[in-house]
């Protein structure tokens, strides 16, 4: 029985912790490998990231140059360039756009196959998404940052705290982004497909996560509201702020903590919505 | 209607050679095919996966440019005269819809009438005939995306015929269909062929399609024509044999031999026996059999085309091992 059990990926509270970790790692590996096969798409996407890196960087630098202290939103030129170029890479790690796996499986009815597996879909998709993020971290961040460094002076972190805090912040950004995307996709359980919500998401997430411009350029009241009331700044803006050392260390730690709170909330919401959806499927027979 | 002379199509593909290196390799998907198909003929075009069936069809319909050789359909050269040809042929790709996904069939047909510039009266008449033969009336107003595969295929057939094509090309028209839909499609095509106005070329995996519909069978393998003729000629050439199946009241006595035939199967403890007839007529075999045992029931089974074709493919395989999906 034990031998049979080991071959089926299972994550449940009743099982030894180590076995669950093994399963989670296997699922992550599958996410990683899946994205490793899209080599041409990776190259095409990287090229486009770089073009937009140039566009956004030049405009932001011109904005900063037009101010009295040559700073925009509290960032100097080096910080702005770093913000843009690392942001162009991080965008893919966080995976803001293009994830429709769940809603497609719901639309086609394939989701039933996920429900009969011994791993909760939220956990299984999270593992695969972390694998995807890992692949993006290795392939999609380097090129834009390299090009950015070649054409613009970039900021280098000066505090020892920055590196570990950035790593944590990126991980939280991926988890938070996953939670948001899961919720958006899960609307398909009720709507049949998630096209409308996905368009909303694509539109809102780019601008409110800080991809088009640093959110610090917004009026203070608006920026604070976004940070406290939505998970969106935690998806891109917070890790980038940490990296360019926009704020004093204590505030940075606070922002990452806020990011963690939101990541947990989103993940919990995803789990709750999934359970509701499953109950609904059981009652109504899909 | 259709002329192919020494028609060839080669593709260049990159294949992995080692971890990073990729090698260019040339593959002949169609390799010197010469065929002539007359008006009103119904031709089955068969072959294993990657034999070059689809590639040939694509060259005939103006989708692909031949690498060499000549091709003409309705007296036109498919690629340079694509739009002129399109008005005179109908094409059904089994897995690529011609219909508007979100619209009811009726609307798709109306759109196609505009695309092919068909006079209203002709359109009406053809549509009515198709509706009758294919029994479309029940789902003419349902969006295509909600149709079953069989219903959709009947819609596709109608769509391909509304402009009164002289040649109808069908690429796997029965693939994935249920038995009833297959039957409907076959009898419709059979009806179409009987009138003799339409030349019909169909590729298929399902040899039953061919047995029902086509008088002429072209077998292609590795891009070359390995057989062109009737089904009977195919059997004659490959020595296919009829079989005699008999249900007996009691098993045959041990050591029973039927001269000119081989026993190729026994079932139900010897209560059912099968003989493959080699050099004996069915009549003589039956006569010999009734002397040996009490025969309750008898049937003569025609040679199985699947077997013949399977044998044909395996023979071809051993010659050379290359293939490409066209």
């Amino acid at each position: 029985m034990d031998a049979l059990d080991a071959s089926v990926p299972t994550i449940s509270p009743g099982r030894p912790f180590r076995a669950s970790v093994t399963t989670f790692r296997a699922l992550m590996g599958s996410g990683f490998r899946r994205y490793a096969t899209y080599r041409q798409a990776t190259v095409a996407g990287t090229f486009t990231n770089i073009v937009f890196g140039f566009l956004r960087c030049y405009v932001l630098l011109a904005v900063a140059a037009g101010t009295v202290g040559a700073t925009a939103g509290g960032y100097d030129a080096r910080q702005l360039a770093t913000f843009v170029w690392v942001g162009q890479g991080l965008l893919n790690v966080v995976g803001l756009w293009g994830w429709v796996d769940l809603s497609e499986r719901i639309r086609t009815g394939d989701i039933v196959a996920d429900l009969v597996r011994p791993v909760s879909p939220v956990i299984a998709y999270l593992a695969a998404d972390l694998g995807r993020g890992g692949h993006a971290l290795l392939t999609r961040v380097g090129p834009p940052v390299l090009v950015g460094a070649l054409f613009f002076p970039l900021a280098t972190p000066s505090r020892w705290l920055t590196a570990p805090l950035f790593a944590v912040s990126v991980l939280l950004a991926v988890v938070g982004s996953f939670g948001c995307r899961y919720l958006v996709n899960a609307t398909a359980y009720w709507l049949g497909d998630a096209r409308g919500p996905l368009v909303f998401w694509t539109l809102g997430s780019g601008v409110l996560a800080g991809l088009y411009f640093p959110l610090r350029l917004l009026p203070d009241w608006l920026a604070v509201t976004l940070w406290v009331a939505t998970p969106l700044p935690g998806l891109l803006q917070t890790p980038l702020d940490v990296l360019v050392e926009r704020d004093p260390p204590a505030l940075q730690v606070g922002l990452v903590a806020l990011q963690a709170v939101w990541a947990v909330i989103m993940l919990a919401l995803a789990g709750w919505v999934q359970r509701r959806a499953e109950r609904r499927l059981v009652v109504q027979g899909g | 209607m259709i002329e192919m002379r020494d028609l060839s199509k080669t593709f260049t593909v990159r294949v992995k050679a080692g971890r990073l290196r990729r090698e260019k390799r040339t593959i002949a998907a169609v390799d010197g095919v010469s065929l002539s198909i007359g008006r009103g003929e119904m031709v089955g075009y068969i072959g294993p996966n990657g034999a070059g069936k689809s590639t040939t069809l694509k060259m005939l319909t103006g989708v692909l440019t031949p690498t060499s050789g000549e091709v003409s359909v309705c007296g036109l050269r498919p690629v340079p005269q694509r739009t002129a040809l399109a008005l005179r042929i109908g094409v059904v790709f089994g897995q690529r819809s011609q219909l508007w996904w979100d619209l009811p069939l009726r609307d798709s047909f109306r759109l196609l009438r505009a695309v092919y510039r068909v006079p209203a009266a002709e359109h009406e008449a053809r549509l009515r005939r198709c509706c009758e033969l294919l029994d479309l009336d029940g789902f003419l107003d349902i969006p295509v995306r909600q149709l079953s595969l069989g219903q959709r295929m009947r819609g596709e057939l109608t769509a391909a015929l509304l402009h009164g094509p002289e040649v109808l090309f069908l690429d796997e028209p029965t693939i994935g269909l249920d038995v009833v839909s297959k039957q409907a499609v076959r009898s419709f095509l059979g009806e179409l062929g009987r009138t003799g106005d339409v030349t019909l070329v169909l590729t298929t995996h399902d040899l039953a399609d061919i047995e029902r519909l086509c008088h002429r069978l072209v077998v292609i393998d590795h891009g070359r024509v390995v057989h062109d003729g009737t089904i009977e000629q195919l059997h004659a050439r490959y020595g296919s044999r009829r079989r005699l199946v008999a249900d007996l009241d009691s098993p045959l006595p041990p050591g029973f031999v039927l001269p000119g035939a081989t026993m190729t199967g026994t079932e139900a403890d010897g209560h059912r026996v099968t003989f493959t007839l080699e050099s004996i007529t069915a009549g003589a075999a039956v006569a010999a059999l009734v002397t040996a045992a009490q025969v309750r029931d008898l049937s003569v089974v025609e040679p199985d085309i699947e077997d013949v074709v399977a044998r044909l493919y395996t023979d071809g395989r051993s010659a050379e091992g290359r293939s490409a999906e066209g």
Partner: protein, 266 residues
């Protein structure tokens, strides 16, 4: 004549398909309009921080943003969905297009016409209207003509870029987002005064790809401002020529793309 009627029918079919899902069509209409609104809002955000960017005031920049918004939306609305070509090639649906008695490009364009982007047109037009009202333009016959030709030429140029980007799928099926760098990238490029960009990058996009003539040069002429980058005043009137040249290139590339597809298949 018959062919025109056929295209009109295809357009009608597209119209009916789009309205087949009424609710989600309405949602998409609104969100798409919001997309253009966000692009414009971004310009305001930048000018909140700095009064002058790249030597231009908000009102002046808004004129460029407005021309771009209108021109891009026009192109996106008409030929934008040609980027679906990738899917057509990958799934082999292009074969079904090739066996119809009509030209390939118009069929593809009409089959997928992104009507959900219709509301963007209103947003683009109103931005242009606001920009015109906020700038003190000395109207002459030439400038009125320019106001008409510039957005249309811009739309034609964007259309050509859409076709060029999509056509990469003939050679490289997974080209995916590659084209977005030039289509959406071109839109972003022309939303701001091109003086903000670094020199080689600006040369490539503004003069190499012709984006400088979409909004920057016409806006200068409308405003009566000399080009800080040195092009003469009549450069504002060049956009139709630039657009035609781009169309020529796109046509050649598209044709050879179709030819390539026919020699290799999917």
């Amino acid at each position: 004549m018959g062919e025109l009627r056929a295209y009109a029918a295809l357009f009608g079919g597209r119209l009916r398909s789009a309205t087949a899902y009424r609710a989600s069509f309405a949602v998409e209409l609104v969100t798409n309009a919001a997309g253009t609104a966000i692009d414009v809002a971004t310009v305001f955000v930048f000018y909140r921080t700095a009064a002058v960017v790249g030597g231009f005031t908000l009102d002046e920049a808004l004129l460029m943003t407005g021309i771009t918004a209108f021109a891009f939306v026009l192109a996106d609305l008409t030929v934008g969905n040609i980027d679906q070509l990738e899917t057509y090639v990958r799934t082999g649906r292009l074969d079904a297009v090739l066996v119809r008695p009509l030209a390939v490009l118009p069929q593809l364009v009409l089959a997928d016409l992104p009507l959900r982007k219709l509301m963007r047109l209103a947003v683009g037009l109103s931005v242009l209207g606001v920009a015109l009202a906020r700038n003190d333009i000395d109207w002459t016959a030439g400038r009125v003509l320019l106001l008409v030709t510039a957005p249309i030429s811009g739309a034609v140029l964007f259309g050509a870029i859409f076709v060029l980007s999509a056509a990469t799928a003939f050679w490289w099926v997974d080209s995916g987002k590659l084209g977005h760098g030039f289509t959406y990238g071109g839109r972003d490029f022309t939303s701001y005064p091109i003086t903000v960009y670094g020199s080689w990058f600006r040369t490539l996009f503004a003069y190499g790809l012709g984006f400088g003539f979409v909004s920057y040069q016409p806006a200068l002429t409308l405003l009566g401002r000399a080009d800080p980058l040195g092009l003469p005043a009549w450069a504002g009137y060049l956009s139709p020529l630039v657009a035609l040249a781009a169309v020529g290139v796109a046509a050649v590339v598209w044709r050879s793309g179709v030819r390539h597809y026919r020699s290799t298949g999917s």
